[in-house]
């Protein structure tokens, strides 16, 4: 009964996955880019590149910089727009037996609602809200750093879609647990975390910022301890499932997130280093379960032992 097939199967907010390993938006393209390296049918879910209402060409200048055990990026949400995604990309993705989750970004609360409505179609498993973008109407404050605007986005999206709604939390806040409670109350079905931490690198020869956009988002192994800590804090205060991410390179990294309280994980920057990372991590978790004589990955979730 508990074959190797089923020991990783999970259900996140109604999304049935063969395993709890997803891809981090923006690090896995639309999935197809990795088809030489991974069998897309064996991934828990593919979360596609951040999509906006209209096409965006992204930021000018240098878009990435390597940092100790990590990298900064300021891609600037380059994407072909939601209509192109639906007409040209989604039909190709439908041939794979894998849930497709669309990561969306808006300039206003209403735009998130519009995007969710347009994406409420067959072939899409869920929407993931990227709230790490500035709210144009509210003078550019980032949706994800303000509990009221993050909650407003969730409510608007819930009104406009029948799909599960995942909100991706920004780590650039004072109290991540408070944000999580706010979005859960607003009706979010799951939380993914963390998005990138804002950082910058300066070229000491030219005295200029290395990145074209001056600042960028930090990802990779450098952020993992922060991400694990935040997942653990949030897991104490919400009931909805958490999709943990931030610096996962190996199965052991992923297991830390499960123990901290995540029900699934996503692989981001690791895909750039090892293009078959998603499958390798899934395999490694299975081996770990066998070694620990466990029968299902859910036996790890939130099992952190804190000596009091």
């Amino acid at each position: 009964m508990l074959s190797s097939e089923t020991m990783l199967e999970i259900d996140i907010a109604g999304i049935k996955m063969k395993n709890p390993i997803m891809t981090g938006s923006g690090t896995f393209g639309f999935g197809e880019e990795y088809s030489d390296f991974v069998d897309l049918n064996k991934i828990g879910a593919v979360v596609v590149k951040g999509t906006t209402l209209l096409p965006r060409c992204g930021n000018d200048g240098v878009r990435i910089a390597e940092t100790p055990s990590g990298m900064l990026n300021c891609i600037g949400l380059e994407n072909p727009g939601v209509e192109h995604f639906l007409s040209d990309i989604l039909p190709r993705l439908k041939k794979y037996d894998v849930p497709i989750i669309v990561n969306v970004s808006g300039n206003t609360v209403e735009e998130y609602g519009q995007l969710a409505k347009i994406l409420d179609v067959y072939g899409i498993a869920a929407v993931e809200l990227n709230v790490s973008c500035p709210n144009v109407k509210e003078g550019g404050i980032v949706f994800g750093t303000n509990r009221d605007s993050a909650a407003a986005v969730v409510r608007e999206v819930k009104r406009n879609t029948s799909k599960p709604v995942i909100i991706k939390l920004s780590p650039n806040v004072t109290d991540i647990a408070d944000m999580a409670v706010a979005v859960e109350e607003a009706g979010a079905d799951a939380i993914s975390m963390i998005n990138t931490l804002i950082g910058m690198v300066i070229d000491v020869d030219t005295w200029k910022p290395v990145l074209g956009n001056i600042t960028g988002g930090l990802s990779g192994p450098a952020v993992k301890p922060v991400a694990v800590r935040m997942v653990w804090q949030v897991a104490q205060v919400v009931k909805i499932p958490i999709i943990g991410m931030g610096g996962i390179m190996t199965a052991e990294d992923a297991i830390e997130f499960f123990l901290a309280g995540a029900s699934a994980v996503a692989i981001g920057t690791a895909n750039f280093v090892n293009p078959s990372a998603v499958e390798d991590v899934a395999k490694g978790i299975q081996e770990y379960l066998v070694k620990k004589k466990l029968t299902h990955v859910s036996q790890l979730i939130g099992q952190l032992k804190v000596n009091k």
Binding site: T27, F37, G58, E66, S69, M71, P221, F272, N274, S276
Partner: protein, 254 residues
């Protein structure tokens, strides 16, 4: 043609000058499929640096199953690479990108600095066509390329910024005379951005189809992260240097 990522070993890592080395890696499948202009994305076995480094395939030896990568030590990644020895492990992802278009009869190859590396492989595959190579660098010490083009080109012209070897000046200043003396039907150029712009402009004025090879910072190398995109002059969708390029028709991107 599927891309592959293989754990492999270094056959040789030999010094060419103080800061330029040639890395020979064993990667038979990549060597077999690679075409000139393509590159590999190299990850060394240690954790740091985190990201891969893109290097052009400067030649292949299909029989031996090896790739030659010629690189200048400019920072952390290439410094780590320079320390590796025979039998050390690397992971090699490739072959990546689109290569040069070989449908021409009388090509001129223009290389500047490390951009001269991929043109060796190109010159080899252009055989037995009559090929002219024009290469430029800052000084004589940088112009170590000539022996590598042995038997691959009808003639080799050299310019250096300081005049310590060949003609003093930039490659582009040597173009008018070369074009007057030959009926080129293609110019291939790889080197610093300003040089490629100047050569492409010249090619356009003389109505010679021109291909350029661009460099951008890359994370994934396979079209997923969008760190490498550039403006597309012929359409509104940006181009990915790693998968749409690195070789482009000049008018697409310059």
């Amino acid at each position: 043609m599927p891309k592959i990522a293989i754990d492999t070993t270094i056959v040789e890592n030999k010094s060419i000058t103080d800061d330029v080395k040639e890395l020979i890696v064993y990667a038979p499948k990549i060597a077999q499929q690679a075409v000139p202009g393509q590159f590999v994305h190299i990850k060394i076995a240690t954790g740091e640096p985190l990201l891969r480094r893109p290097l052009s395939i400067s030649n292949v030896n299909v029989e031996a199953g090896t790739l030659s990568l010629i690189y200048r030590i400019v920072g952390k990644g290439t410094a780590y690479l320079a320390n590796l020895r025979t039998n050390d492990e690397v992971n090699c992802l490739g072959p990546l990108g689109n290569g040069f278009d070989l449908t021409c009869e009388r090509p001129l190859l223009v290389g500047g600095g490390m951009g001269t590396a991929p043109l060796i492989f190109l010159a080899q595959r252009l055989n037995p066509r009559t090929t002219t190579v024009l290469m430029g660098g800052r000084n004589k010490a940088e112009m170590f390329w000539q022996p590598m083009y042995e038997g691959l080109a009808k003639e080799i012209h050299i310019t250096t910024d300081d005049g310590s070897m060949g003609t003093k000046g930039f490659t582009v200043s040597a173009l008018p005379e070369l074009v007057k003396a030959n009926q080129f039907d293609r110019i291939f150029v790889c080197g610093p951005h300003v040089m490629m712009e100047a050569v492409a402009k010249f090619a356009k004025e003389h109505e010679i189809p021109c291909q350029v090879s661009l460099e951008k910072y890359m994370a994934c190398g396979i079209g997923a992260c969008l760190s490498c995109t550039c403006v597309n002059k012929l359409g509104d969708k940006r181009k990915k240097v790693c998968t749409d390029g690195p070789v482009f028709w000049a008018e697409e991107v310059l």
